[in-house]
């Protein structure tokens, strides 16, 4: 009986250690994944953003293209709307995580922030296509 209880306790301890280790790994892996995706999405956003800024220098041509490519401008506005809504949800989740310290909230907030950056990239690509020749 004693031997069994010792075995059970050691197994339980091993499971708890494993769980803690997995939680730490998961946290680190998720953080690394999130930041990698930020970089992967952020670099094209900066690239397209600089291109748009260069193209917007000619006001007459850019405004004419904006007027003529109205459907794409609506897509740009829609992506911007989804980006801001995702940012709102992300901020609320981070606030709740701050209060409750639940890891689920942090991870779902990170995923939604990735979604927000995807919408932002889509918006920037749409605007880039509008102002391009």
């Amino acid at each position: 009986m004693d031997r069994l209880s010792i075995k059970f306790k050691s197994n339980l301890r091993a499971i708890i250690y494993l769980k803690l280790l997995l939680e730490v790994w998961w946290m680190d892996y998720f953080m690394a994944f999130r930041e990698t995706v930020y970089v992967l999405l952020g670099l094209p956003i900066i690239f397209y953003g600089v291109r748009i800024l260069l193209k917007l220098g000619n006001v007459n041509v850019s405004s004419s293209r904006l007027f003529l490519r109205g459907d794409r401008f609506l897509k740009f506005l829609g992506d911007l709307l989804f980006f801001s809504l995702s940012c709102l949800v992300f901020a609320v989740l981070i606030y709740l995580w701050w209060l409750t310290n639940l890891e689920v909230l942090r991870i779902s907030g990170g995923l939604i922030s990735i979604l927000a950056l995807t919408f932002l990239l889509s918006a920037v690509i749409n605007l880039s296509r509008i102002v391009e020749a």
């Binding site: 930041e35 007027f67 401008f73 940012c87």
Partner: protein, 181 residues
């Protein structure tokens, strides 16, 4: 007091940005040609707002890059407070400012006639009396409430001219002015 923390600023900023983008999207989707014409006519303001918008987005993404550098231990963790928080604040302010400019450009204006005030009041009264409340009210939620009624009328009305007359306020306004004023 534990409920008060800096993340609340982010929530309020996102709320303002979401509200402005929602209004801009609604206005531009309801009157596409009108909003595009306004964007074209007020080209300087439009281009200024787009430039500020893109700059704010680039600054926002730069903030995320700073987080990556912090994670890689290139920058120390206190950089969050003296680099990333100011960057995020500047990005938020610029984004809100650009959306306000874009909103002021796209927002529909009251039609002003070149006539005396009494004449205009009479015309407006006539239009308000005749036009269906769906067209008279500008509030989106009121429109949303009236939409089932309009759908019902669309389905059960057989008089096509009535439908055209009913759902084209500009034509109707033109007719009422032609007849009455």
């Amino acid at each position: 007091m534990e409920y008060l923390n800096p993340v609340l600023v982010g929530i309020f900023a996102s709320l303002i940005a979401s509200y402005l983008t929602l209004r801009i999207r609604l206005y531009s989707s309801q009157k596409i040609k009108y909003s595009l014409a306004r964007l074209f006519l007020k080209k300087n303001e439009t281009m200024r707002s787009l430039k500020i918008l893109i700059s704010s987005l680039i600054i926002f993404v730069s903030g995320r890059m700073i987080s990556m550098l912090i994670l890689l231990n290139v920058l120390e963790e206190s950089a969050i407070y003296y680099i990333r928080v100011p960057i995020d604040s500047v990005a938020t302010i610029l984004l809100t400012y650009s959306l306000i400019i874009l909103y002021s450009v796209i927002r529909p204006r009251e039609v002003r006639f070149k006539s005396s005030d009494a004449h205009q009041r009479e015309a407006k009264r006539q239009v308000d009396r005749e036009i269906h409340p769906f067209h008279a009210h500008k509030n989106f939620f009121i429109k949303f409430l009236y939409s089932p009624l309009i759908l019902h009328r669309c389905i059960f009305s057989v008089h096509s001219e009535f439908l055209v007359w009913h759902y084209t306020p500009s034509l109707r306004m033109h007719r009422s002015f032609k007849n009455g004023c």
